[in-house]
Symmetry: C2
């Protein structure tokens, strides 16, 4: 535990999980200033926006923070697959009066590239975390040369060993309970994915570097339990989604406060990669895991106008409602207070 605090220069062993789409720098700043490690999700920011957020963060805090990136390879557009996806969505286009001819193709998740590293270099973020593995070796060496500490998520023992061998400073054990995108990158077989209670002790046993627990940890008891299982710290996301600093949409907040929050599923309908969110109409009608969506992140474009049209009339039928399986720790309190509450037994 103290090793992680030392490694990252933080006072509390709490990492706020980066959550693209429901937060910007305000949450990062609040958590880091409270003594945890605030995270900025960069996957949905263009280079200008990224630089702007980093300026905001560095102007407001003088403590470590984390910037998170996705490490996917953007798939080449696949016209046939895109057409099939739109065919599956056709009844919805009719229902909402949308002309699919007006929808451009494309994705909305940026991978980590040299251009991104160019922006980062001026800031040299204290911590960088990656999802879906790691960037290419040369790019990783470049960011490490600045002194940035490197984290990445593992969903299996194999992935954890792979990350350790490539020089990450700590591994995040992403249990199956976690909300948002599954980090899996050495396999696409979802039967390999295991719960936190099973994954965490196996990674602690297999690795020499610190292991950070994530998935289903929502309160101080959960943090204490994870530390008991050998975690050096905890990454919590869902618990922060109702904080005033989060940009969680009103529909998303409503779902997180209703009994619907009890039922999440892994779905590939939103982006093309499996991610956990609150069960909604799209998942119910197409099945949460479906062959139709094109490769990540190309599924997003065809869905965007449906999402917008439904949200305009107060419905989350097509919305991104990321959530972990344990929403019992969601609190409408400032993120600094939540961070201190999470760490109260550490």
């Amino acid at each position: 535990m103290s090793s992680l605090k030392q490694l990252l220069g933080i006072d509390l062993p709490i990492i706020q999980a980066p959550m693209a789409g429901v937060q910007g720098s305000a949450l990062t700043v609040a958590v880091s200033n409270a003594g945890g490690l605030g995270s900025l999700p960069a996957a949905m920011l263009d280079l200008t926006a990224l630089a702007g957020e980093l300026r905001t963060i560095t102007a407001q805090i003088n403590r470590p923070y984390n910037v998170n990136f996705f490490c996917h390879t953007t798939a080449a557009p696949d016209a046939m697959h895109e057409a099939r996806w739109r065919e599956v969505l056709a009844p919805y286009y009719t229902e909402f009066g949308i002309d699919p001819a007006t929808i451009s193709a494309g994705g909305s998740r940026m991978p980590f590239t040299d251009d991104v590293a160019d922006v980062l270099e001026a800031f040299r973020p204290p911590v960088l975390s990656f999802h879906f593995g790691l960037p290419a070796a040369s790019l990783l060496a470049r960011v490490k040369s600045w002194g940035s500490k490197i984290l990445s998520s593992a969903t299996t023992v194999e992935e954890a060993l792979w990350l350790e061998a490539r020089g990450v400073d700590a591994v995040i054990a992403q249990g199956l309970e976690a909300g948002g995108h599954r980090a899996l990158f050495l396999t696409s077989d979802l039967t390999t994915q295991v719960g936190t209670m099973a994954l965490l002790p196996q990674l602690v046993r297999a690795l020499r570097i610190p292991v950070i627990a994530s998935g289903g940890i929502a309160d101080a008891q959960g943090v204490r339990a994870a530390l008991t299982l050998g975690a050096a710290g905890v990454q919590a996301g869902t618990a922060y989604m109702l904080c005033p600093e989060a940009t969680t949409s009103p529909l998303h907040r409503a779902a997180l406060k209703s009994d619907r929050r009890r039922h999440t599923a892994l779905t590939n309908l939103i982006t093309g990669r499996p991610a956990r969110g609150i069960f909604n109409r799209l998942m119910r009608e197409l099945g949460p895991l479906n062959d139709a969506p094109p490769a990540f992140p190309m599924a997003t474009a065809a869905l965007a106008p449906l999402k917008a049209a439904a949200e305009k009339i107060g419905r989350d039928d097509f919305s991104t409602l990321w959530s972990g399986q344990n929403t019992s720790g969601c609190r409408e309190i400032p993120a600094a207070e939540l961070t201190r509450l999470l760490a109260v037994h550490t």
Copy 2:
């Protein structure tokens, strides 16, 4: 914690999970005599065998023990579904030189009935645990009238509230990591199933009665973590499978000691209901979840000769290899010693 020990009259807050097929009374006796709650799985015992095991147990211990039953309704034989299942298995029958005409239909898991209660009445077991819900109200009232304490497993908040409303004495929170049959009974939607780290705190919060944690708990740290999350005790199964008192087959033991143990899946291929076991050839080739198997427990008959033929040549292609997602606590030590080790931090 003390409430569960008081409720069940045990010294250690450890329940050995009933595991039909890999244990008989020897494991029950060893665990109960060590101060935990040993369990006898009765789903695969006929009435005579059940009475025999109960005589063995009561002759060897003077402490509480648990007898476990399945609460399914045996489905009527469905010739069309059975034929489809055999058609899917046909290539395997050819490969192993089996004439499917010689295979009788039927299942091999006994539900809880008045006949079973007649056998139990002479013994009045201190604890009865049920899987897949509860027996009919009159039958439940009958066994409760003897003073037997009643446990049953819940996989969702809804199931836990349902069980509490029907008068169980404690609920077992069966996290998704758990080996063997999923207890789910109010739904068949597997997306409702959640990890222990998420399920346990939600049940603790929702119920007034004690909650017992299960799924992925394999060692003393796991037990301590579960108690930290509010569990009154722990039910552990997988950890006991290599104990000398378990009747785990040599092939099953070999799989549990190999790296294959890292990959389990929920499969309905073995019995028709989803259960977690080590990934094997049948799961790989048919997909672990498949529409072909007839209703529980009717899938077993058609598979039995394949299982036997493959095992005869040292292969577990069709074997039942139940296991939880955390095998790191499996130890080849006497069950009494394992029980004490599990409880060392309680």
